[in-house]
Symmetry: C2
Subunit: 268 residues, 2 copies
DNA sequence: AACGGCGTTGTGTTTATCACAACAGTTTCC
DNA sequence: GGAAACTGTTGTGATAAACACAACGCCGTT
């Protein structure tokens, strides 16, 4: 009100100065790294255009990343690719077990509610790996083995993961050799697999009545963190018991996958 | 000389202003990420101490990393772990194929010189995977299959990788189940394996006369980039032919592994 | 209750970063 | 064949962004 306050020193400075304390230069470095999701190889100028940064800034960001081994400059083409430190960190992340610690309570809750065994599976090359397993109570139950790997085309849990991969990558991973058959229901040709994937993408859930292990019905939902497929959560049980509660299982497994994704995305 | 220049504004500014254009804030963010190699979980204060940074700086770095999914804050303990973006990047790196492109010429040169097939293997969970293979010329030769995986304890190439893993991690990966036997020479107990690893560490090379595939002799050397084990390069050939040139093979494979490591570290 | 630990937030100072420009090599395309 | 257009890299002043310090609120222990 007073006319005297001629120059309010900083009219908006009481509010948080920056976007909640995010460091611009560091954030830009991370943006550069994440750009390699879309393209395996970047030149300085084209990356600068993509991220709307100055050439010089991009060049210095890449040089900084290169010095720590996060990117690698091809001495011939002067283009950059992801470097060795990325793999090193990934191993550390796996070893650290964030995923396991976060997923276990979610699976336990899911298992309790549906009364069947639940598993978190993660992609592992051209296969998927059982990362966390929670067995149901009671004598008759499926028992997941942590660390076991199953080829990508085997079972609902695999469909719920690889349906959300870039499909050209899936084809590359599966290769040219014929796909292994586990019983008369296994999907062994690419066309059937592609149709199944389309259905899974549309419905957000994959259901298998014995495609891999003939004795069990599986209901699997994909789990996304930061819009990236991380793995799938699956409910597994004997056919007869599962038959009466497939609808419930679909709802619950979708919810659990969503919940885990939120937790892993930091919004939980 | 003049008494007047009280404050020389910048006494060395003609020289490159900073350490060759490395951005401090970005570099610090990368240091934070790499700290998770040594410990899976960090609090703000202890990480600040470790890196000799201010608490507030560390906190803002972690917040920046968290917003992009590179780290994840446990809402309970307020401690940070590596996040989902690390895995996403690792998949992109694998898909991108930097390793393959870099390794192929090195392997080709090695194969030409020794006159046998050569393979680059990379760790893949509790196994190792054939990432790049270059066959020798001639009718009698070992032919490596890209994508094939072999359990960690099978063959020289595995020893040359897992000897340089933290040994407690190797034990965890191998698990409690008995190790698969491929022939009478396969190393199937942990004690023998541990002794072999010690020898491999001391000599910088692993030699197998048919431990996995009974028909071939393998000479393998570990490959490091930025002081981290990346994989191993192996020379494989029939026993009789290899017998006459094991010493040469040891020298050559060591050199090739060193060369590849240098290339991947950006110093090539 | 007082302490010592934590993670978080505010703020003036200053310094690291930005944006623009200029440079030297390559490739491209008349 | 030559110049135009493209790379990636480096220099530099202005300025905004990051730093370092301090204060705060919170929790568990003493």
């Amino acid at each position: 009100m007073g006319v005297e306050d001629v120059g309010v020193p900083n009219a908006g400075t009481t509010a948080p100065r920056r976007d909640s304390g995010v460091l611009q230069t560091a954030d830009r470095a991370l943006q550069v790294l994440l750009a390699f999701r879309d393209r395996p190889e970047w030149g300085v100028t084209e990356l600068a255009r993509e991220l709307a940064l100055d050439k010089s800034v991009t060049q210095r960001l890449l040089a900084t990343l290169a010095r720590r081994g996060f990117v690698l400059a091809d001495p011939e083409t002067r283009r950059y690719r992801l470097g060795a430190s990325v793999g090193v960190l990934a191993r550390a992340a796996e070893r650290g077990g964030t995923l396991e610690a976060t997923a276990r309570p979610v699976l336990a809750e899911l298992s309790r509610r549906i009364g069947e065994s639940t598993i978190l599976n993660v992609p592992h090359g051209a296969a998927y790996r059982c990362a966390v397993a929670v067995d149901a109570d009671g004598p008759v139950r499926y028992s997941g083995t942590v660390g076991a790997t199953i080829p990508a085309h085997g079972g609902a849990a695999g469909h719920a993961i690889f349906a959300f991969y870039p499909q050209d990558e899936v084809r590359r991973l599966l290769g040219d050799a014929p796909l292994a058959r586990y019983n008369e229901l296994t999907l062994t040709d690419w066309d059937t697999l592609a149709r199944t994937y389309a259905k899974v993408r549309a419905e957000g859930v994959a259901i298998s009545h014995g495609e891999y292990d003939a004795n069990v019905t599986s209901v699997a939902a994909p789990c996304f963190a930061l819009d990236q497929i991380i793995g799938s959560i699956v409910i597994i049980g004997p056919h007869d018991r599962m038959a009466t509660k497939v609808d419930t299982a679909v709802d619950l497994v979708r919810g659990a996958a969503q919940r885990l994704g939120d937790l892993l995305s930091g919004s939980g």
